[in-house]
Structures are given as C-alpha cells and as structure tokens.
Amino acid sequence: MSSLYSPRLIAGAFSLVIVGLGLTSCQRPQVNSVANEAAFPQSTNVGPIPGGVTVANQTLDPYLKDVVAIQEGQRLFASYNCSGCHSVHGGGGMGPSLRDETWIYGNSDAQMLDTLIHGRSKGMPAWGNKIPEDQMWKLIAYIKSMNTPLEPNAPRMPAEEVIPSGDFYKPSAPAALNTPPGPSH
C-alpha cells in the first residue's frame, strides 16, 4: 500500500493540514463553530467536521482544467467500476450521486483523495493499494468536472424512443389450446 503513496503526496497532505491549522488559528474563514484543534494539535482532519469547515479547499489536483486528463478520468471511472455503484455519469445508484452538491465526506481535493485511498464505511472500497496516485487525481478531476462545461460526454435527456410495432411479439391466436371447461368471465 505504501508504495503508491509518493513522498510528494504525503508531504502535500501534511502541508495541507498545516495550512489548515494556520488558517484556523488566525483567520477562521466561514467557520461558525470550530472543532477544538488547539487542544489536540496532533489530530488531522480526514473528513468533514460537524459544526464548521476547517480544511482549506486548496487545489492539489494538477488535472482540474486538463481536458485530456479529465477524459482519461472518465475512462478510469468505468474501468475501476466506479460506474457500477455511482452509475455511468455519476448520477448514483448503490452509491450516492457524484453530480449533485451533496458531499458526505467533503469535496476538497484532499478530502476526495482521502475517500479514494481509505474508502468509506457504507461500501466505498479503499483504493489506496489499487489505484496509482496519478490516476486518482484524474478520477477526481473527472468527478469535479461533472455538471460543469468541462464534463466530457455529459448526460443528455434522451429523445422519446419508439418501438416499431412489428418488434413487439403479439401472438396471433392466443390461447387456442384452451377450451372450456375453464373459468370464463
């Protein structure tokens, strides 16, 4: 598992935490009530904190505007079977929608990476030792592109489909074999 964590990634994650703590101690932007990090300086935030946002939404993903990488992320989304749970365009199924504005475990780059690496308790597998870091960022870039102009092959409402009546199997003489006595109406 550790082989896939590059030193850069780990360093990045730590610096994020440090930045997050720094912000919390001096600026506290958009925070209503704050988890008491001061009392537990060794703690790190791996998910959303009830009561307020304490993780800075810092950009870590190098591919957020890279249309080629986003397309690659869409391909990975299918090949790693993300689409099996979240559906082909991320609209949700067994797993929740990734297209909407609800993020159970947060949508900062760091939070999404953490969700991919460690999985989540209601069925999201831990991909940390299965997907290389670079591919995770492409996946995140694709997911973040959903419902934006950057989304490749965005879902469209299909036109109403007509089935040619000849395609329907309609037996010509149904139930000729059934003769009375049988119930009738």
Binding site: A78, S79, Y80, N81, S83, G84, C85, S87, V88, H89, G90, G91, G92, G93, M94, G95, P96, S97, R99, D100, T102, S121, K122, G123, M124, P125, N147, P155, R156, M157, P158, E160, E161, V162, I163, P164, D167, F168, Y169, K170, P171, P174, A175, L177, N178, T179, P180, P181, G182, P183, S184, H185
Partner: protein, 616 residues
C-alpha cells in the same frame, strides 16, 4: 398429507352461504386434481382448488398462503361498501427507504420488518391506534448497506410455533419470540465479504426454514439454505451453480426438457470457473405444495450481466426449481432463459393452483416474471403448458413448448461494445419482485406490470470483490405511446388479458391482494393505495399515502370482527430509489438506468416509511 385440508372454522363462520356454494362446486362434476387440495373458498369457479389453506383472518407467511395466491376469502369489505374504507391507524418506521414486503398478523399482533437496520416491530391490534408491544433491533452490520444492489429493502417474515423468523440485510436469519420480542436464535447464512446479502422473506415448512441469498449484481453465487426452526442449525444447502452434488441433484432429479438434462451442467454450461461468480441468487418468493411435498422457487440473473464474458447456457441461473423441503433434493428444474443477456432474474412467485386446463384438471404452476410472459407449467413434471406475453415483448417471439426454449430475436441479443436498442421488457422486468394475486372466484391472476424497455450496451468488467459485477450500461425508457405500467387482470384459463388499469404517471411497482369481496388492492409508486373491482378492473376507491408504495397489501380480521387492510408506504427498491436525494435526476442512467423510466418521481413522491391500516 393425504387427506384434504379443511378450511379453518374461523373462515367458514363468516360465510353463512357456504353450503350453497359447496353444492355449486359439487354439481360441477369435475374430479379434483388430487386429494391433497383444500376445499375451494366460497364462490370459486368450478374445479378450482387451492393447494393449501388460505389466509383465514390471520396472515402468517409472506404470501398469506403456501400456494402464493395472496387471496383472502374475507369479504366484509366488498365492491358494495369499499368506498367507505377509511384510515384507522398509521405507524411510522422512521426509515426512509423502500418498504417492500408485507406485515404478518398472528394472535392479535401485527409484525412489521423495516428496511435496514431491519427492526422487527410488534403492534397490538386489539386496541385502538395499534399501540406498540415491542421493537426488536438486530445487530445489523452496516457494511451490508454498501453492497445491496437495489436499496436496503426487506420482504417480510414468517411465523410458526411462537416464532417470527426473518432475514437481515447482513445475511443473518433471526428467530424472535413472537410474544416477548426476545431473540431465540440467530444464524449467519451469507458472507458480506462475498457480497452476499439477504432481502427475501423466509418460508417455514414444518420444522424447516428456507432462506435464499442476494448479491447477483456483485458476483455472489446463489443458493438456498434450510435451517432447523427450533435451533437455527443449517440442515442443508442447495446451490444454483456448480456440481450436481452442490445442486442437490440426485436419482430423483428429472427435468422435463432435454435441454435441462445432463450431468454437472452447473459447471459445464460456463467458461472455466465462471460458475463460482455466476449469480443465480435466490431473492424472491417461495411456494410450497403440501400434497406433492415440493417447494418452488426461482434463481436470478447470471453474472456478470455482459453475456460475452460467460459463454454457455449458464445453468442454473434464471431457473425454476422444484425441491423436497426435507432433504433439499431437486425433483425438476427448468431454465427459463438460457444465457440471458438482459438481467431477467427468475425470482417471481410461482402461484400454485389446481384447475381445469385445456379440458382436464391439472396441477398448475403459474409464473409471471421479468421476461414478460405468463408461464403455465405442470408443477408435478415441469412441463411448460403455455407462455403468453402480458406486456410488450421484443427479446423473443414466444416459447417452443416442445423444447421449452424461447424463440430468441437475434438483433436483441446483447454484446460487449454494442448498444442494443429497444429491448422489452427492461432489466426491471415486465414484472419485478412485486407479487401477483390469484382469485379462485374470477380465475384471474392480477399482474402488476411495467411497460419499461431498455437500451443496453455491454462492456468488459473485472471482478472486484464487494463492487458490482455488471458490464452493462443500461438506459430504461417508456416507449412512446405506452403507459408506464398497469395492473392487469389476466384470465389464466384462456391465457389472455381480461382488463388493464394504468398505474398513472409512474410504472407499476407494488404487490397485489385479492379478496373474497371481489376487490383487488394495489399501490402506485407515487403513493395512491387503490381498491379495484376484481372482475372489471374498475377503480372503486383510492387514498394517497405519505410516500410511494412498493409494498404488498394484506388483510386480517380484528378482535372486533372487522376486516382490515394493511399496506406499507415508503418509496424505494431498484426503480423507486430514483426518488432518493442520492440519485440525480439529471443523469437519465442513474440507478442502473432506472431514472429515465421514472421521470418526475422526485416531484410525485418523497422518501418515507410507514404502515397504514384501513377499515370500514
């Protein structure tokens, strides 16, 4: 069981005219198919005999009766007075997920199993407002929620010898003391690590509890398991893929059709080792014929959905089985669709009835499932007597009754990398898990039918434990000019539709109850609970519930002698989950393609979960 089973006295007493009706039956002059059938309920058509006692004021098993008629002779609520039906009690479950299944009523108590975490709630039906007696909460592993394909549903419990027996999503079977609400035993019947979950309702036959397994969308391998009612100990298991020994096929196993004959087909009809991830799970309803001492049930889709990854017939997925419940040994099996590439699970209930067929009495099994056909079979031998479509069908053009093989339409077969358009029915099925009812008074099967078709693109998929094993991108749709669904009155003997009542803005997605009052009860996905004339299909009464209906109506007699009707409200399940906030309406393929067939659902209903009880 060689003697006739008499209708319980409690039922007889409500039918003062039973003597007259018995005379009518006697005058028909038709011999009964077997000495085992029970007396027909009052007003039955000539020659129709249920195989087991009907729901006689209580409701002790999922369908109300072993034959899965879902018919109660109770007639205090009838076509003359049903417009006076009114709400007498409700009970929230607090769980906004699909409330499939139905309550039980035994000894003055109503029992309901909730969706995950599968609480068992006991209500006192002898007092106004149905006060709570107790709630039993199992220790349900929440990993199960993430590997349940189609919402965290449960389809109900069974009662026997003072015990309520039911399954939990984390693949345990519980027996709970029906009086005290205390656990008697608990047995693990599946492994979450293999994506095995439990959604089906067990059936109890004498001292044997029969349970299946879910997980066919995640590479689980199907089976049924028999448990000892007293101890919970596993007595036998019978797989739906694998060797004949695993299948419990012995010397008595005699499939009717040549295509189903041969050794170890559960291995040979697959590529190497594919049967180990082959699906064929058992998540539907189980029927039982006491006279023949056989249970009947079906197996689900083969896995993965992408058919190019599993060459062969893929036995014994999509198969109807007849087995001895004491030993588990199979009597016959009939694979309904070989090598299916459309997710046509064969989990539908098998309705057992003795009645005249083509001029002579037969022991029939009637099945209306995902394939869109009403199949009538001889349940002693497994011979297919008739297969007529009850919804628009494009994947095949009927069945060859001599070989038992469907006449496939070549350009509707699915393949990797190809988008095949206009396959009807869709993966949801011409009828999904929601069971029919059969009235001996009308000879009709009442089918909750959907008119959903699909476009289907196969794709290569790798097996990753605990994730879906599908390999298909599916888009459901309602074909232009079709209603989304309908409740169909199906004349069994003439194998044709007698009437049809559209389900409104959304597909039909709830079970059916038929009663001696010639009423059929049924719900709609947007929450209308409806009473319908069993003979004409005319809508007689309806009432809007708090959330969409995906449950099955049932009826019982109160301590006050009144007839009550109960139904769950609570939208969900594979198609109904499109109402959940966690599925996005702007992705038409969300929910395995279901979103596009449930347009507008988020405006028509909201998630919820409650019991509703009605009376006059």
């Amino acid at each position: 069981m060689n003697s006739r089973i008499n209708m319980p006295n409690t039922v007889r007493s409500f039918f003062p005219s039973i003597g007259c009706l018995a005379l009518m039956v006697a005058l028909t002059g038709l011999p009964a198919a077997g000495q085992e059938s029970v007396d027909p309920p009052p007003g039955s058509l000539p020659g129709i005999h249920p195989v087991a006692p009907l729901a006689d004021g209580q409701w002790t098993m999922p369908a109300g009766d072993y034959g899965n008629l879902r018919y109660s002779p109770l007639d205090k609520i009838n076509t003359q007075n049903v417009q006076n039906l009114h709400l007498v009690a409700t009970q929230e479950t607090g769980i906004p997920h699909g409330h499939e299944g139905q309550p039980l009523v035994v000894n003055g108590t109503l029992y309901m199993v909730t969706p995950f975490p599968n609480n068992l709630i006991a209500l006192d039906i002898t007092k106004p407002g149905l006060p709570q007696r107790w709630v039993f909460s199992p220790h349900n592993d929440n990993r199960a929620e993430g590997i349940a394909c189609c919402d965290t549903v449960n389809r109900g419990a069974s009662f026997a010898e003072g015990k309520i027996v039911y399954n939990t999503l984390d693949a345990h079977t519980y027996a709970v003391d029906a009086t005290t609400g205390k656990k008697i035993w608990e047995t693990q019947v599946g492994d979450l690590k293999l994506a095995e979950t439990e959604t089906m309702a067990p059936v109890i036959i004498r001292n044997t509890v029969i349970v299946g397994i879910s997980g066919g969308e995640l590479g689980a391998r199907g089976r049924i398991t028999a448990l000892n009612l007293q101890t919970g100990k596993i007595m036998w298991q019978a797989s739906t893929t694998g060797s004949d020994a695993d299948m419990r096929f012995g010397a008595d196993f005699k499939p009717f059709y040549k295509k189903d004959q041969g050794q170890n087909l559960g291995i040979k009809s697959w590529g190497p080792d594919q049967w180990k991830l082959g699906g064929g799970t058992v998540w539907g309803w189980i029927s039982y014929d006491p006279g023949l001492n056989l249970i009947y049930y079906g197996s689900g889709n083969p896995g993965p959905w992408n058919e190019d990854q599993r060459p062969g017939d893929n036995k014994w997925a999509i198969t109807i089985f007849a087995r001895n419940p004491d030993t588990g040994m199979a009597k016959w099996a009939y694979q309904v669709v070989p090598h299916s590439g459309w997710d046509y699970d064969q989990m539908a209930e098998n309705v057992l009835i003795d009645m005249p067929w083509a001029g002579r009495m037969r022991k029939l099994l009637i099945n209306s499932g995902k394939t869109g056909y009403v199949m009538v079979m001889d349940r002693e031998t497994g011979e297919l007597l008739s297969a007529e479509p009850f919804v628009p069908v494009t994947w095949s053009r009927g069945y060859d009754l001599k070989t038992g093989i469907p006449n496939l339409v070549e350009n509707k077969e699915t393949h990797s990398g190809k988008n095949i358009k206009g396959i009807c029915p869709a993966n949801v099925g011409g009828k999904s898990i929601f069971p029919t009812a059969f009235s001996p008074r009308t000879g009709m099967l009442y089918i909750p039918a959907t008119h959903i078709c699909m476009d289907y693109q196969g794709s290569e998929v790798n097996y990753i434990a605990g994730t879906p094993y599908l390999g298909a991108d599916v888009l459901n749709f309602i074909p232009k000019g079709e209603a989304p669904g309908a409740l169909i009155g199906w004349d069994v003997a003439h194998a044709r539709q007698a009437w049809s009542l559209n389900s409104g803005a959304l597909p039909e997605y709830s079970g059916v109850l038929a009663t001696g009052g010639d009423i059929v009860f049924n719900g709609t996905l947007d929450g209308w609970f409806r009473a319908i004339d069993a003979r004409s299909g005319k809508l007689l009464w309806q009432f809007k519930l708090g959330s969409g209906i995906v449950g099955n109506p049932m009826t019982f007699l109160g301590a006050d002698g009144k007839q009550y009707i109960a139904i769950y409200s609570g939208v969900g399940g594979a198609l109904g989950a499109t109402a959940f906030p966690s599925l996005s309406a702007d992705a038409p393929d969300a929910g395995l393609g279901a979103m596009n067939a449930a347009k507008g659902i988020k405006k028509l209903t909201l998630p919820g979960g409650a019991l509703y009880v009605f009376s006059l």
